[in-house]
């Protein structure tokens, strides 16, 4: 369970890091 958990956590961290926080994208800005 622990090895599997570490693998899954690492994968989730990589995916989370691969996303982008949109610069200049503000609610209501019409994006």
């Amino acid at each position: 369970m622990s090895i599997t958990a570490v693998t899954v956590f690492a994968l989730a961290a990589i995916v989370a890091g691969a996303g982008k926080e949109r610069k200049g994208h503000v609610f209501g800005a019409g994006a």
Binding site: M1, S2, A12, A13, A16, G30
Partner: protein, 194 residues
């Protein structure tokens, strides 16, 4: 009371300005908006798949783990679940505040890496006290990362599909991650619960 609340919402609550400006007039318009953001949709689905693997992977089999490895009875198992959920609440508060100050991605990465650091304590605690600590800390990290998800999905979704994209991608991720229900007992059988 719910009926009165519905009436209050109907007559007193106004639609947001964002929706007024970006509303889709037809289903085809909504479809085109979604297709034009297909990469984002795939990313959100993948993100939700991995996040559901993390949360279900640390919760679904945990009572069984406590029962079979630690020989805990129902009251002890429910107490441990309560402790872990307190960890979840505290984690979502702390990591949520961290995300407001330092960014959603950074906070999620920190929380998930924190989860890796806590995994040995959570799974291989040498004493009951450390087991309790591990249960608290693993859910502190997991639900700390999860607490950011609603804001993150909404902020990543463009105005034109914000009502549809976060929820649909979320549920598609849940659908893909539903395989975890099969994977968990198979792994527990072959690799053990800890």
């Amino acid at each position: 009371m719910p009926a009165l609340l519905a009436l209050f919402v109907r007559y007193r609550v106004k639609e947001s300005e964002v929706w007024q400006k970006s509303r889709e007039e037809s289903w085809s318009g909504l479809g085109r908006a979604i297709v034009s953001h297909w990469k984002l949709f795939l990313y959100l689905t993948l993100l939700m798949t991995t996040m559901n693997f993390v949360s279900h992977g640390t919760q679904d089999m945990y009572p069984t783990f406590l029962e079979r490895q630690w020989h805990f009875g129902p009251s002890q198992r429910s107490l441990m679940t309560g402790v872990s959920m307190v960890g979840a609440i505290v984690g979502s508060l702390v990591i949520g505040l961290f995300s407001d100050r330092y960014g959603r991605r950074r906070a999620m990465i920190v929380a998930l890496l924190g989860g890796i650091a806590m995994a040995p304590l959570w799974a291989y605690a040498p004493s009951t006290a450390l087991l309790v600590m591990g249960a608290f800390l693993i859910q502190f990290m997991v639900q700390g990362a999860w607490g950011i998800i609603p804001a993150h999905l909404s902020e990543l979704s463009p105005d034109s599909v914000r009502g549809f994209m976060p929820g649909f991608a979320y549920q598609c991720g849940v659908l893909v991650a539903s395989t975890v229900v099969y994977i968990e007992p198979v792994l527990a059988k072959t690799m053990g619960y800890a």
